[in-house]
Symmetry: C2
Subunit: 152 residues, 2 copies
């Protein structure tokens, strides 16, 4: 088992154990590889009145994917911290009418700078973009600002 697979499984277990809504959404880490985190959730528990993906589920999958990306970066650096989202913006371009598949990749230089900053000052901010496709085209774009603080 690769280290990235083990970390992905740990992330998913953390979500399911500690965030009831993550369990209700049946969210899963699909892949963590080469700095990219891919997260999926089935449509059925995440549908809305139109039978397509609920805006709140799409946001929640995105916000967790970004949070997971930061969590993985901390683990790989051998450190830890509390991670919270400070603000975010989401644009719904197209309806998602099947499985929700969300991807997040950080700019490596920005991520390294944020982790250095966390080490130096005990606090860092990392902006992240997550996207969800629908029928092969971009459907959802999420931009979140994550704040990490060293745990005491």
């Amino acid at each position: 088992v690769r280290n990235t697979d083990r970390l992905g499984a740990e992330l998913q277990a953390t979500w399911h154990a500690e965030i009831p809504l993550a369990a209700a959404m049946a969210i899963e880490v699909a892949r963590y590889d080469d700095g990219e985190l891919l997260v999926r959730a089935p449509l059925a528990p995440n549908r809305n009145v139109q039978g397509t993906a609920f805006a709140g589920s799409l946001f929640s999958v995105c916000v967790l994917t970004g949070w997971g990306k930061v969590w993985l970066a901390l683990r790989e650096r051998g450190t830890s911290g509390s991670i919270v989202v400070a603000d975010s913006r989401i644009v719904y371009r197209k309806v998602v009418s099947g499985e929700i598949l969300c991807r997040c990749r950080a700019d490596a230089a920005v991520e390294t700078a944020a982790l250095d900053e966390l080490e130096d000052s005990g606090r860092a901010t990392l902006p992240l973009t997550c996207t969800i496709d629908g029928a092969g085209a971009p459907a959802v774009r999420f931009e979140g600002k994550y704040v990490v603080k060293r745990e005491r």
Copy 2:
């Protein structure tokens, strides 16, 4: 039973019947009165790894409160339509560590103009702001743009 109470109960029943995540969040219409919609959800099913309210739950409560405000406006006007959120922004200022209580009030003139536009053209956009307090101070501010289309 006042008409507004009846409509609030109908809105809540719609959410629970058609949006599994709304049921998982145990969302309730607390009050609908004088043009203001007040929605609540308990902390327990909506907690995060820190034991405070999950960012995705806070967003979902806000996006549903705004959606509900539009749904109620349509019902009161004696019309109907599909309601979707096109984009939104959320700012998390403070942690919410108790019951989630979200309020939404539309500017009456803006709402009337949007409903007129829907009647004339079959399509309208309504921007709405929802807020959640935490420990008596503003904790979350959500701004969403809702698009309403006449049902065929």
